[in-house]
């Protein structure tokens, strides 16, 4: 009852100095959270993005770690074990099992040359992922540098640099990708045969051709985004304030421009990965992707098309893998954008 009607009587204890705890409870300001902590907090709350991240890590392990422990290699042809269904054994393998030895099962069966399909799927995922990751990194490097230079320089330098990107932007990419990869492949194969370019032979000249083609065509988008970011930030009040306080150019770039750009750049790069994987699978389908016996997910699916009525699992597994890889990278990129893009904060 006493709660309902506040007493008018003054109490002595109300006028005592506040204790430390009471003071603490009156502090309204919370601890300042920096950009990264804030973004990560939002990312962690996003369930779809976190599930995608788990998938990405699992796929990475599947592609980069697992083949090292697998008892078969991706080019090893096992005699009498051609075209096996999942968990089937070849003639020689069955004989070994009957003799009491253990044979590692072909979880995904084998292909028409008797190669274990599970390990080929892993290698294919590895190649496709590598194409996506390397291309995205190269595009970031070239595009961000170009865009930053154009944005900083301004004036006629910016004008000329941007007209070049305007023209490149309107060129239909898929046509040029096809023609470029046709033209680059033999040129790089010649180059790889020269002494001193042995490392190219090891990597495969046409894998390098694919990297080059993607970078040549896709840096434009990144350059445009970086430039517009730099332009916006250059004009912002806090940069003017920093300059007025006597900050050097280098400090402004490092402390203000780079930290504010980087969110957008990371998001754009992440979304570049699935699009590179997507395009590589198209090229493989047209026979312009990575060369045999190296598999990519696209070429695995393409090889399986002919025999899809008899061996559908050889088609469905790589097809599923491509779709899942592109899907999780897209979802994760969307999550990153929601978390780190300052424009979408609200």
């Amino acid at each position: 009852m006493s709660n309902k009607f506040p007493s008018l009587q003054l109490k002595v204890e109300d006028f005592l100095p506040a204790s430390a705890e009471e003071k603490e409870s009156l502090v309204i300001m919370r601890k300042s959270i920096n950009f990264w902590a804030d973004g990560m907090r939002r990312l962690r709350k996003n369930k779809i993005a976190m599930v995608s991240l788990v998938f990405i890590i699992l796929i990475m392990i599947f592609a980069y770690v697992l083949p090292a422990f697998w008892p078969y290699s991706y080019e090893q042809q096992i005699k009498y074990s051609e075209n096996l269904a999942p968990f089937e054994y070849g003639r020689d393998e069955q004989a070994l099992i009957d003799a009491g030895e253990s044979v590692f099962p072909h979880i995904c069966g084998t292909d028409k040359l008797g190669r274990d399909f599970a390990v080929r799927l892993m290698m294919g995922t590895r190649i496709s992922l590598s194409v996506g990751l390397v291309c995205a990194a190269l595009v970031l490097l070239v595009g961000a540098t170009y865009g930053a230079i154009a944005g900083f320089a301004g004036g006629w330098v910016d004008n000329i640099m941007m007209r070049i990107t305007d023209i490149l932007y309107t060129i239909p990419d898929i046509l040029l990708i096809i023609i470029l990869s046709m033209a680059l492949k033999p040129a790089l194969e010649d180059l790889a045969a020269q002494p001193g370019f042995g490392w190219m032979q090891k990597m495969g000249p046409n894998l390098i051709a694919i990297f080059l083609v993607f970078v040549l065509l896709y840096w434009v988008g990144m350059a445009r985004i970086t430039r517009s970011q730099v332009l916006i930030l250059k004009e912002s009040e806090y940069v003017t304030a920093a300059r007025a306080l006597g900050a050097s150019g280098g400090r402004i770039v490092k402390k203000h421009l780079l930290t504010n750009c980087i969110g957008t750049l990371i998001v754009t790069t992440t979304l570049q990965i699935p699009s590179a994987i997507f395009t590589e699978s198209y090229l493989s389908f047209l026979g312009l992707g990575v060369a045999a016996p190296m598999p990519s997910l696209g070429s695995l699916a393409t090889d399986a098309v002919k025999g899809m009525n008899t061996y559908p699992h050889l088609l469905i597994l790589p097809a599923l893998m491509i779709s899942v890889v592109i899907l999780v990278f897209n979802l994760f990129g969307d999550g990153l954008r929601d978390a780190f893009d300052p424009k979408l904060k609200n």
């Binding site: 239909p172 046509l175 023609i179 033999p186 699978s281 047209l286 097809a319 491509i322």
Partner: protein
């Protein structure tokens, strides 16, 4: 405005010119020639053929000849399909690709716009999540995968749809579906985000405050503005479907422009490569220029620079 249109057109023409030049020199870098693959013909006959089509001349001279002929509207004869002009082949194949792409665009719009609206209207609810997951999957699946899977399920396993060519109405179903999946998913996402963006505007709140039902607000006030980005996507989508359809055309053995382009490259049919590339590039670039100009006319909020 006039200045902007002229600038945009000039850029477009410059891009077409650059595509043509790049293609010309790149395709000549590729080893082999149109007549090398034919083992049946002798060395002398091969040289005679090359002389006939002017392939023995230096590259620079051939480039100038080709470009000046092209400006006059002459794309030359196909090197592999003897006696047929490049423009003739393109004219006969173009309608096939255009029809496929056209149907796919209509389908994508008819499905994508309502799905996007439903999704935005039910924001955060089950329907919204369901549609968004579906649309994200649609974007993630490359069209050759969806074509092959369709072919496998409906063509060979169930055997209900024809797998080759475009002879009957039912043979359109699979190629059009395979082509339309990506744009449908894309339009759904575009429509949803655009509608949500518009729904947050002040004038929508005003109309809600004045007592207009939320259904009417959505369709009468929000949709008109929200549909703009979708409309501007139609041009590039149509052009993209026409150039991107070669995979689908290859899988379903449809005699379209895309298949012609791919086989021209593998056959080193130089004049055909040039012809198809320039036509397809012109299509994409024209669509983009028209959309850029239209966008500025439709939406007065975009400032002209």
């Amino acid at each position: 405005m006039k200045k902007y249109i002229i600038k945009r057109l000039a850029l477009g023409i410059a891009s077409i010119f650059i595509v043509a030049t790049l293609t010309f020199f790149l395709m000549n870098l590729v080893p082999g020639g149109p007549f090398v693959a034919e083992k049946s013909i002798s060395k002398a006959a091969q040289e005679a053929l090359e002389a006939k089509y002017g392939l023995d001349k230096p590259l620079g001279e051939r480039y100038i000849t080709y470009m000046s002929d092209f400006v006059k509207g002459d794309m030359g004869y196909s090197l592999r399909q003897r006696g047929r002009t490049v423009s003739g082949i393109i004219f006969s194949k173009f309608p096939v690709s255009a029809k496929l792409a056209g149907i796919a665009v209509v389908l994508a719009l008819a499905l994508g716009i309502p799905l996007g609206c439903i999704s935005a209207y039910n924001r955060g609810k089950f329907f919204d999540n369901f549609i968004i997951v579906l649309a994200t999957c649609g974007i993630a699946i490359p069209s050759f995968i969806s074509s092959v899977l369709l072919l496998y399920t409906f063509g060979s396993k169930l055997g209900v749809l024809p797998t080759v060519g475009l002879n009957t109405m039912s043979s359109y179903i699979m190629p059009v579906t395979a082509l339309a999946i990506y744009p449908t998913a894309y339009i759904t996402r575009l429509m949803r985000s655009s509608l949500l963006d518009v729904m947050g505007q002040d004038y929508i709140r005003t109309s809600r405050a004045k007592g207009v039902s939320s259904f009417k607000t959505l369709f009468k006030h929000a949709l008109r503005n929200a549909i703009l980005p979708v409309i501007t996507y139609v041009g590039p989508m149509l052009a993209g479907l026409m150039t991107g359809s070669f995979v689908v055309e290859k899988i379903f053995t449809i005699p379209g422009l895309g298949r012609e382009f791919v086989s021209a490259i593998t056959n080193r049919d130089y004049t055909m490569i040039m012809g198809t590339t320039i036509i397809l590039a012109t299509l994409v670039i024209t669509a983009n220029v028209i959309v850029d100009i239209l966008y500025k006319i439709i939406d007065p909020r975009i400032k002209l620079k």
